[in-house]
């Protein structure tokens, strides 16, 4: 039976078990109740007073999309029956893919996700004839306030992401719907899927215990984008002689990916002989600053060419080139670890901003991303959401 995974608590259940929240604004007609599951998720005590949550009569053949409360008010506000968070509209009706973005502190994860979403909405969407839009107001507001506002409106860098322990909003995902025009099929129409992005605070990846509480979604992700800042690698810094300050707490990339694999293994009950099936895209950020480290003919110097299809040959070339360089910079350990633990992984080189910010954190030249879409398209290609083609 088709299972629905709540994007907040990652409970799996059949769509007909979805609960509904009453929307009656008159508290005297429908009394407010202490919502303990929601309070537990939000970590607030005592639980907040909210409109009541109820389970309508429905069966697996016909999952309910609307329900009527005891007070007589009809509602379409679906909530997870486990954590009582509001599910995006029509959430259970389409495939959902969770993409987790991980990386060390100050690797540029928030910048990457901010630019990636903008690119998916515009340039990538245009070349794939795809529509990419937010599924709920929370995503819309959060993207506008915490991402777009900084780099596109005020043209400054995004402040550090707070830990999930400090800021509950970090635990909420950005939920989008990708609507693609079907190609090469007898039936014309749209292929729709939900994409759930999680932006993780680097400090939440420093301990396994912390990850198991604050980044539960990692174990349930369909794809992982592991963002690495090459400027935090000493070999690269020595060659570039960069003056960029290192973050105060620099976590080795292998430590993070090691913890992630351990977390996934624990959650899925995988033995050491089994490889993790979740595709992992290792994206090296800030390649604009490493221009001189790649040979002139390297594919990393050229823009990707995904004209309606994911260009697998180009991705292969970039993977080989980046892989060779990574092995040179950090040694073969990382690559061997990935080979031994993950069934599918690939290397990428990306630049979210196109040029480094100035000393005061401003972006006077604007944002000119480079190859930011490659890791996500590769994951979507691996998940059979996007078609690939060898050019």
């Amino acid at each position: 039976m088709r299972q629905l995974i709540c994007p907040y608590c990652f409970e799996r259940y059949p769509p007909h078990q979805v609960a509904f929240r009453c929307i009656n604004p008159n508290a005297s007609r429908c009394a407010l109740e202490k919502d303990a599951p929601f309070g537990a998720y939000q970590r607030v005590d005592p639980p907040p007073l909210m409109q009541r949550v109820f389970r309508p009569k429905s069966n697996w053949l016909r999952p309910a999309v609307r329900a009527t409360c005891n007070c007589g008010m009809e509602t379409t506000k679906m909530v997870c029956h486990h954590c009582h968070n509001e599910l995006p509209w029509n959430f259970g009706t389409t495939d959902s893919y969770t993409v987790a973005l991980i990386g060390a502190k100050e690797a540029g994860k928030s910048h990457y996700i901010a630019v990636l979403i903008n690119e998916l909405k515009n340039r990538v969407g245009q070349s794939f004839d795809a529509s990419f839009y937010e599924l709920d107001d929370q995503t819309r507001d959060r993207y506008k306030k915490e991402f777009k506002r900084y780099i596109y409106d005020e043209r400054i860098v995004i402040p550090f992401t707070k830990s999930g322990r400090q800021d509950i909003s970090v635990r909420y995902p950005l939920v989008y719907r990708l609507s693609l025009q079907k190609r090469r099929t007898l039936f014309k129409g749209l292929s729709k899927s939900n994409l759930v992005f999680f932006d993780t605070a680097g400090e939440d990846l420093t301990h396994l215990d912390l990850m198991s509480t604050e980044t539960k979604y990692l174990a349930n992700s369909h794809g992982i984008i592991f963002l690495l800042d090459p400027l935090q690698i000493r070999a690269v810094r020595d060659q570039l002689k960069t003056t960029t300050a290192l973050p105060s707490e620099n976590t080795e990339p292998q430590e993070i990916i090691g913890r992630v694999s351990q977390l996934i293994r624990q959650s899925h009950g995988l033995s050491h002989n089994e490889k993790i099936q979740t595709p992992v895209a290792l994206a090296f950020s800030k390649v604009d600053e490493m221009h001189d480290l790649f040979e002139p003919g390297s594919p990393v110097h050229h823009a990707a060419d995904h004209d309606g299809y994911f260009n697998t040959a180009d991705a292969q070339q970039v993977n080989d080139s980046m892989r060779a360089h990574v092995a040179q910079w950090v040694g073969p350990g990382l690559d061997l670890f990935l080979q031994h633990n993950f069934e599918t992984f690939s290397y990428f080189g990306v630049s979210a901003l196109g040029s480094p910010p100035d000393s005061q954190g401003r972006l006077p030249m604007g944002v000119a991303p480079f190859r930011v879409e490659d890791p996500l398209l590769w994951i979507l290609h691996k998940l059979n959401v996007v078609r690939g083609r060898r050019n």
């Binding site: 050229h302 360089h325 073969p332 000119a368």
Partner: protein
């Protein structure tokens, strides 16, 4: 009787004074320095002491040890103050208070700890001998003598009158029964249980007992009833039938027994604080003791345990400032019950009662502790005022005011002093003014008044009355001598000498009336030959000087109709020492006479007059302007008696009125001459006609102006503005007639195109541009704000306004960065602040000159588009050089103003030398020859003598990098390729184990700029 012993004085007074002066810069007080007791009152004794000690000081002032202190003590001010303070009884009293306070303060420091201890033990009103012995033992070690310690104790030393009870009263078992029963019934004692007062009669006890028995009989049987019956029985046995005093003794004994451990505990630190005492008192009261008895018991127990007690019965007290004794407030005492000193003072600020011992008012914080000092100052000021030393008195009173504000005695004294001060200062001011004006006779009178008001006057400048009088009399004496000399000369007929002497006397004493009278008797000689001439409405008056000696001045008087007879007979025009003056106020067209009087030291000669004359005025602000066959004259003239007449002559000016053609004015202030031809020079003479006294016409000489009418030149309508290297170039087509100038202004010109203005008004148009050629003007300092460029065509005196255009210098973009990403070229730049649009232009052969360059490809981009796209992309670029320039655009009045695009940050170059791409492919031999590899090269165009190519293999599936981190499999040298003709080479994989990754590289790095090897798909490169 006061006696002086040098050795003793040195030992007791002088040596300590020297030490105190060295360490604290403190001088001994008035009493101490003259070795007088503080209670001294006999003026003779004081006088003797002062005289004797002063004599000794004068004798010893050379002593190296005492010299410094004695020099200060011998200062006149110190001596004067000390003498006055000691000899005046009130001042002495005030000083005594102050000195006592000071001495007390220093004593306080020494006795602070002792006093604290005494306060603790003496606050109950007495000290017992045991406590005294403890005090002596504790404080003797602090260098205090027993006598000093005893002197500090100002309360009686006696034994405590209370003894702790030793009689148990009732047997222990009975006491315990009673206590237990009372606890159950929650009663303090049996009296409370019965509801009677302690010490009541036996009958009352019996009656109460009976009542209680009746009450309790009616109650239900329970535990309380049992206890009540027990208590009733005990009362009957021990109080009614027995002796109630025994129960009282038992109560006291019990209370002490309860208190004892409590007091012992509290006395653990040898001090029972006030709070602890209160708690103990509460315990004792709860056991039925009276307050006084309870306090006595606690004190006795505390003494047993050797503890001091901060004893208090919540009684408010006030401390005496003099003897430190605590006086209960409830007695409402105004003076100390121990020493009789005043306990209270009134705060001058808030008028509330303040304790004299408090350093400041408890209500408002005013320093009431300064009272003794204030009293002394008030007395000092009173004495100074009485002695007529007003200013000093004022200063002293002001100091008292600073300490005590203006209240009470200080206020009254200040009021008195200020009245006197005002009077004295007024007199002194008048004296100073008369002296400054050299009126010494008047000063003498004022000084006499001052002497009456303040006989001992001493000014703030240090001048006293004799000094002031001396200065005045000296001048008067000099004056008197000169007057005597003048009189003699006058009598002998030597008038000039007499005049000089009188003048000298007046020079010294301005109010010497005799000198003035003498000069009146010798008037100066008059001036001669007065001549007056009118010129442009002004009259120049000249005369010959007077032969009078002694410095004369001339007073010129004007009168219409006839000559003035005296100064008051006409208008005084001037008072000069020279022999000419200019009268600018003579009424035009009037007939005037000028009279000159010679004045010497206020004495006038007879007047000498000029002949009568007519005052004539020309027109003013005459302007003559020409424009195309027309001459316009304008002027200003407002004399009704005058008539303006204009004469014109071609090529030369009219010589006088009537010469040339007379042109009738069009109005009272202008004239329009239409009878002129363009290109001819015309002269105009404008004269004014007046009538003299006989009615005959008289003409002014007139004003001449020339003008040459010209054909107006055409206005400039079209011109180009460009910005080159930060300089604005303005170019136009030169007109056939007239010269062109350009002006830059920020305000829109008030004249419209084609309007004619006088050439003189061109400056109002703004800053003129530099004319480089007859069709080019440049602005080297263009403004960053929008400015108008105004063309003006000038011919002769006529300027014609052209079409003004608004222009803004636009800044270039900066930091243009172009990056080649293969599929597109990415352009990014920084925008100038005021620009919202840009034009991206590129060419393949050279940089575009401007956004309108016909050979350039251009794209217009807004800032919003730029921000959304993150720059500008040239998609699918050609394989050719890209010369890119970004022009910032500013819109002014709907017109696009482009930046120059020449700054380095506004242009960039890409793809100048595209490397030649050499692609290669790799194939393996058939299954029999799997180790044989064929590499095939292909070029897009002919390539000869390629640099050496190496084929590198790396074991595993990670590709080798150019820095030779693999195994060299093959080297291909001197390879030449033709377009479409592949070239293959074979080699084997024997040297490396599979799987491996192959790649080909040029051996020399720099060749990468000329050639580029294109890798085949990874599947070919991975050898399994």
């Amino acid at each position: 009787m006061w006696k002086f012993d040098e050795a003793d004085y040195i030992k007791r007074v002088l040596s300590p004074a020297v030490d105190a002066f060295k360490s604290e810069s403190r001088l001994p007080d008035c009493f101490e320095r003259y070795d007088l007791p503080i209670t001294v009152s006999d003026p003779k004794e004081i006088e003797t002491a002062i005289t004797t000690v002063h004599a000794y000081w004068n004798k010893s002032k050379q002593n190296p040890r005492f010299g410094k202190v004695l020099s200060v003590l011998l200062a006149p001010k110190e001596q004067q103050d000390a003498r006055r303070n000691l000899l005046d009884s009130e001042a002495r009293k005030a000083v005594r208070e102050l000195v006592e306070a000071e001495r007390k303060k220093s004593r306080e420091k020494r006795f602070a700890a002792l006093d604290r201890s005494i306060r603790m033990v003496a606050s109950k009103g007495y000290i017992d001998p045991g406590e005294l012995s403890v005090l002596l033992a504790q404080h003797r070690c602090e260098s205090l003598t027993e006598q000093e310690i005893r002197s500090r104790v100002r309360v009686p030393i006696r034994e405590s009158s209370v003894r702790l009870p030793t009689n148990e009263g009732l047997p222990k078992g009975t006491r315990e029964q009673i206590r237990s029963g009372l606890n159950v019934l929650q009663k303090r004692d049996l009296y409370e249980f019965l509801g009677v007062d302690r010490g009541c009669s036996k009958d009352r006890l019996t009656e109460s007992l009976r009542k209680r028995e009746l009450e309790w009989r009616q109650k239900k049987s329970d535990f309380t009833l049992t206890n009540a019956n027990l208590l009733l029985g005990l009362i009957k046995t021990h109080m009614v039938d027995g002796d109630a005093a025994k129960y009282d003794a038992a109560l006291a004994y019990e209370a002490v027994e309860v208190l004892r451990p409590e007091v012992r505990l509290a006395a653990g630190d040898k001090l029972i604080t006030k709070a602890e005492f209160k708690q103990l008192l509460g315990v004792a009261l709860s056991h039925g003791l009276a307050q006084e008895t309870a306090a006595e018991y606690i004190l006795t127990l505390a003494r047993e345990y050797g503890a001091a007690v901060e004893w208090s019965t919540d009684e408010e007290t006030v401390r005496c400032a003099k003897c430190l004794a605590l006086v209960p407030l409830k007695t409402n005492a105004q003076s100390c019950t121990t020493c009789g000193a005043e306990l209270w003072t009134t705060c001058p600020r808030c008028s509330s009662r303040a304790a004299a011992s408090d350093p400041a008012c408890a209500k408002c914080g005013f320093k009431t502790g300064d009272l003794p000092r204030v009293r002394l100052l008030v007395r000092q000021a009173q004495l100074e005022l009485g002695e007529g030393r007003i200013e000093e008195s004022h200063e002293t009173a002001r100091e008292a005011e600073r300490l005590w504000e203006r209240s009470g005695d200080v206020a009254k004294l200040l009021d008195r002093i200020e009245v006197a001060v005002e009077q004295v200062r007024g007199l002194r001011r008048e004296i100073d003014e008369t002296v400054a004006a050299r009126r010494f006779f008047a000063a003498r009178t004022k000084l006499a008044s001052l002497a009456t008001v303040a006989p001992n006057y001493l000014g703030l400048d240090g001048k006293d009355l004799p000094q002031l009088k001396g200065e005045v009399e000296e001048k008067l004496k000099l004056c008197k001598g000169l007057l005597t000399k003048a009189r003699e000369c006058e009598q002998k007929g030597r008038l000039n000498e007499a005049v000089f002497a009188y003048q000298d006397a007046l020079q010294i004493v301005a109010d010497a009336e005799e000198a003035q009278r003498g000069l009146q008797r010798c008037p100066p000689e008059p001036a001669a030959n007065v001549l007056a001439q009118s010129h442009e409405g002004k009259v120049q008056v000249e005369w010959q000087p007077s032969p009078a000696v002694g410095g004369s001045e001339y007073i010129i008087v004007r009168r219409e109709g006839r000559a003035a007879l005296s100064l008051a007979d006409g208008d005084v025009v001037a008072r000069v020492a020279t022999t000419s003056c200019l009268d600018q106020r003579a009424r035009p067209a009037s007939h005037v006479f000028y009279t000159v009087f010679t004045e010497r030291t206020g004495v006038l000669s007879k007047g000498v007059s000029s002949a009568g004359m007519l005052v004539m005025q020309e027109v003013s602000n005459l302007s003559v302007e020409a424009s195309g066959g027309l001459v316009n004259c304008s002027w200003e003239f407002d004399v009704p008696e005058g008539r303006v007449r204009v004469f014109r002559q071609e090529s030369r000016p009219p010589s006088r009125a009537g010469d040339g053609l007379e042109i009738a004015p069009t109005g009272p202030h202008n004239l329009l001459d239409r009878g002129v031809s363009n290109g001819h020079l015309y002269y105009y003479r404008v004269v004014v006609e007046y009538r003299d006294a006989k009615g005959q016409p008289v003409f002014t000489s007139g004003i001449v102006r020339s003008v040459r009418p010209e054909q107006p030149p055409p206005a400039i309508d079209e011109f180009q503005i460009t910005l080159e290297e930060g300089v604005v170039h303005v170019s136009w087509v030169p007109p056939k007639h007239g010269a062109v100038s350009f002006y830059r202004t920020f305000q829109k010109p008030e004249w419209r195109i084609g309007e004619q203005i006088p050439a003189a008004k061109l400056a109002a148009l703004g800053v003129p541009l530099r004319i480089e050629l007859n069709n080019l003007a440049v602005d080297f300092a263009p403004s960053t704000q929008p400015a108008f460029y105004v063309p003006v065509t000038i011919a002769g005196d006529v300027a014609v306004i052209g079409n003004a255009r608004r222009y803004l210098t636009t800044q270039d973009v900066s930091h243009l960065k172009a990056v080649d990403f293969g599929r597109y070229l990415q352009l990014q730049w920084r925008w100038p602040e005021d620009s919202r649009l840009a034009v991206v232009a590129w060419r393949h052969d050279a940089y575009p000159h401007d956004p309108l360059d016909a050979r350039a490809t251009t794209h217009r981009i807004s800032r919003g588009e730029y921000d959304g796209e993150g720059g500008f992309r040239i998609n699918d670029p050609a394989k050719a050089p890209y010369y890119v320039v970004v022009f910032a655009v500013t819109q002014v009045d709907g017109e696009d103003i482009y930046s120059s695009g020449i700054s380095p940050g506004a242009h960039d170059l890409l793809r100048t030398s595209l490397p030649l791409s050499i692609s290669y492919s790799i194939s393996r031999g058939n299954w029999l020859h799997r180790n044989r590899i064929t590499i095939t090269f292909n070029a897009e165009r002919e390539a000869k003598h390629l640099p050496e190519i190496v084929v590198i293999a790396k074991r595993g599936d990670i590709q080798p990098l150019p820095n030779n981190n693999g195994i060299l499999l093959a080297t291909i040298s001197d390879l030449s390729l033709h377009s479409g003709t592949p070239v293959s080479h074979e080699f084997t994989l024997d040297a490396v184990r599979r799987p491996c990754y192959l790649r080909a590289f040029f051996r020399d790095g720099p060749q990468a700029h000329t050639f580029r090897l294109i890798d085949p798909p990874p599947q070919q490169l991975r050898i399994t």
